[in-house]
Amino acid sequence: MKAPLKLLLCHHGSSGARAAETLAHEVAVPGTTTLVHCLVVPELWAGMQGDDWLNNASTRDAFGNYVEGMLESDARRELAAVESGCRERGLAYESVMRFGNPAETVLAVAAEVGADLVVIGAPRKKGEQGLNSRMELEKLVRGLGCPLLIAAHP
């Protein structure tokens, strides 16, 4: 297999994503590969105010700003960590941060950046705690125009 020019790494900070990062580092070739870090903030957050109706608009705004700020700072921390790992290995690094359905967003970003390899982590094991926002693998596999590499669960 030729060294990928554009490797799209889907990473949002979970243990599976970190395994994917390790695998991406193994596959990527410094000086040849540009690692594009795709971080998807899942759309489930859009519905996170649920059916709250008792609060004043100011309380809802405060909650929205708080959650947005927290998600953004979490995302920036992940982006910085992955970028630092790439720099250590001499890999070129780019990042894309999006809000939406994980599989649909990865498909869209892969097409936009012209990815020739996509690396993702394995789904979390059952019973393990974490956000319930799984990648729809079938949708991803059917839609991708390049190979997909799934890192084994750590």
Binding site: L44, G47, D52, W53, T59, F63, Y66, L131
Partner: protein, 584 residues
């Protein structure tokens, strides 16, 4: 940012509504409406039969006298009124939607207030169309199906599962957001559901009497106080035992303890809850709340609960406040008595919210190393529910007689001046009362009256009623052919229930008493609009319940939420059944 989406959707909704209005007005869908409005149609047949008979007699008399056939108009039946109501509603809202729909298509939207406010109408019309469909179509259809299947199943599935317009509306809202997604053009308007629910609660304020509010307020403070503080205490204890982390425990305690998602939203920033913790908590509360909304009304009916008991139970036992209103209306979809009770509990909960947020903020700062202190005064002001002030204002206005004479109870008020001529007592009735008056003035009658007043503890103002009071009241009733004061009405109503009283006289007193009470048109209109406001609001809130949020329920929070939610639901049921009576 431009909010208005250029779409023909609002125009189409408007045209559909206008078409429905025309179909009803023209009678083209009478066959279908006969199926939907079975009970109203049976009234229509009776009215028609009576009218035909009267017309036939009048025509025969006219023919005998060589006069032309009389020009008689059939009185409006409930069926005619129902169709006219649908037609008028469809014309009004369809007309507005059509005009605004045309404006959206013709106008080039620019940033500004017009754009923002115009953008909410398509979503509002979308919810209203669903509300029409559910109230006028699905609700009666399921009721008919339930009755039709009863002989085969042995039970009425529509009644047992409360498949009425409230439950169906919420379910449709949930299905739309999760299966079809809310269209972009409707997104802004769908968010107005909260505003309409709050408007409904504010309007509800006009329907309480001071006694009701005092009784319900006292019982809600006791029940909510005990169960809110109790469940928060249990969550804090379980959270520490199960090592869920301070911020997770605090946000879960607020949600499970006070008013569900609203409390979690209010408390999260104050206790520095992490993203995952918020998701777990809100998912758990939504799953529990939606489950309870379906379960509670069925259990309430099976246990034969009344509006006060069910409203108190739902208002205490259901974790999430939106589902409290949903369950109350699902239990009693065609009256608002249960809703009135449940909403008092909701208001009490939300008044507890700022206090609980303060408590949890203090608890968090005490237990979390490095946590920043919270400005308690700022939190208290920011979390105070402003719409409750609107509710109180409406209650005060109503009590002071702004909408109907003060002292009304459930929209009914006393007025001697407004008694119509045809409601005055007839000669036969006054004669029967005069005869009874004469009998009661005899020693035996006077003793019977005195014993009755003593036994029933009948008072006039601050003193015990005497036979002389009854004589005076009856004499005035005969003279005026109507009751003149509320005091007289209260006394004579009691006299009318005395054993041994002549049936005609007793009936006349009852008739005079009823004639003095009038229904307030304003309060009646409030009642009608309330049902629509809540239906609209709950359909819109159903559209905010996403499967993605529900799926976040899990892990330790679900265990703690499940345990405390069950204790709260079962515990409040027991307390309500034991101590809350149908006193209104």
């Amino acid at each position: 940012m431009v909010y208005t989406k250029k779409s023909p959707a609002l125009l189409i909704i408007g045209v559909v509504m206008l078409l429905w209005g025309w179909l009803n007005a023209s009678g083209n869908i009478d066959g279908m409406q006969q199926y939907f409005q079975k009970s109203a149609y049976s009234d229509h047949l009776k009215v028609k039969e009576k009218f035909d008979a009267e017309f036939r007699v009048a025509s025969e008399i006219a023919a005998a006298e060589n006069k032309p056939a009389p020009d008689m108009k059939m009185p409006k039946s409930k069926f005619d009124q129902a169709k006219a109501f649908q037609s008028n509603m469809s014309y009004i809202f369809g007309g507005v939607a059509t005009l605004l729909g045309l404006l959206i298509l013709a106008w080039k939207p620019k940033e500004g207030n017009l754009d923002y406010y115009l953008s909410i109408f398509p979503g509002m019309a979308y919810i209203l169309l669903i509300a029409f469909l559910v109230r006028w179509g699905l609700d009666p259809m399921f009721a008919n199906w339930g009755k039709a299947a009863q002989p085969t199943l042995g039970w009425n599935f529509a009644s047992i599962f409360n498949l009425n317009y409230v439950v169906l509306g919420i379910v449709i809202g949930i299905v739309i957001v999760n299966v079809f997604k809310i269209p972009d053009w409707a997104a802004n308007g769908v968010r107005t559901a909260r505003f309409f629910l709050k408007t409904g609660v504010i309007l509800l304020g006009a329907l309480y009497s001071a006694t009701e509010l005092a009784q319900l307020g006292a019982i809600s403070v006791l029940l909510i106080g005990f169960f809110v503080l109790g469940s928060i205490g249990v969550v804090l204890y379980m959270g520490r035992r199960m090592n869920t982390g301070n911020s997770m425990t605090a946000v879960l305690a607020s949600g499970v303890g006070v008013c569900g998602v609203s409390a979690a939203v209010a408390a999260s920033p104050v206790v520095n809850a992490k993203a995952g913790e918020i998701a777990y908590t809100i998912g758990t509360i939504l799953v529990w709340g939606v489950g309870c909304m379906f379960l509670f009304p069925t259990i309430g009916h099976l246990l034969g609960m009344g509006p006060v008991q069910f409203g108190a139970w739902a208002g205490t036992g259901i974790l999430n406040s939106a589902q409290v209103a949903g369950a109350a209306l699902a239990f009693d979809p065609h009256g608002i008595e249960t809703l009135k009770v449940a909403e008092i509990f909701n208001i009490t909960r939300v008044l507890f919210l700022p206090i609980v947020v303060l408590w949890l903020a203090t608890w968090y700062v005490k237990h979390e190393v490095g946590a920043e202190k919270v400005d308690l005064r700022k939190v208290l002001f920011a979390k105070f529910p402003l719409f409750v002030l609107g509710f109180i204002l409406m209650f005060l206005l109503s009590t002071l007689g702004a909408f109907t004479p003060s002292g009304h109870y459930q929209g009914k008020y006393f007025s001697s001046a407004q008694i119509k001529e045809d409601k005055l007592l007839k000669g036969k009735e006054t004669k029967a009362i005069e005869a009874e008056l004469a009998r009661l003035k005899e020693p035996a009658g006077a003793k019977q009256l005195q014993d009755f007043f003593t036994e029933k503890a009948i008072n006039i103002g601050q003193r015990h009623a005497t036979p002389e009071d009854a004589y005076k009241g009856l004499t005035e009733l005969v003279a005026n052919r109507k009751v003149s004061t509320r005091e007289q009405e209260t006394l004579l109503k009691a006299v009318g229930k005395m054993k041994g009283l002549d049936a005609v006289a007793a009936g006349a007193i009852d008739k005079a008493s009823k004639a003095a009470y009038h229904s307030s048109k304003t309060i009646g209109a409030f009642r009608d609009w309330l049902a629509w406001l809540f239906a609209f609001g709950l359909i819109g809130l159903g559209m905010q319940i996403t499967m993605a949020a529900l799926k976040q329920a899990g892990g330790t929070p679900l265990i703690i939420g499940g345990v405390v939610g069950t204790i709260k639901a079962v515990g409040s049921l027991i307390v309500v059944l034991l101590f809350v009576k149908e006193f209104i």
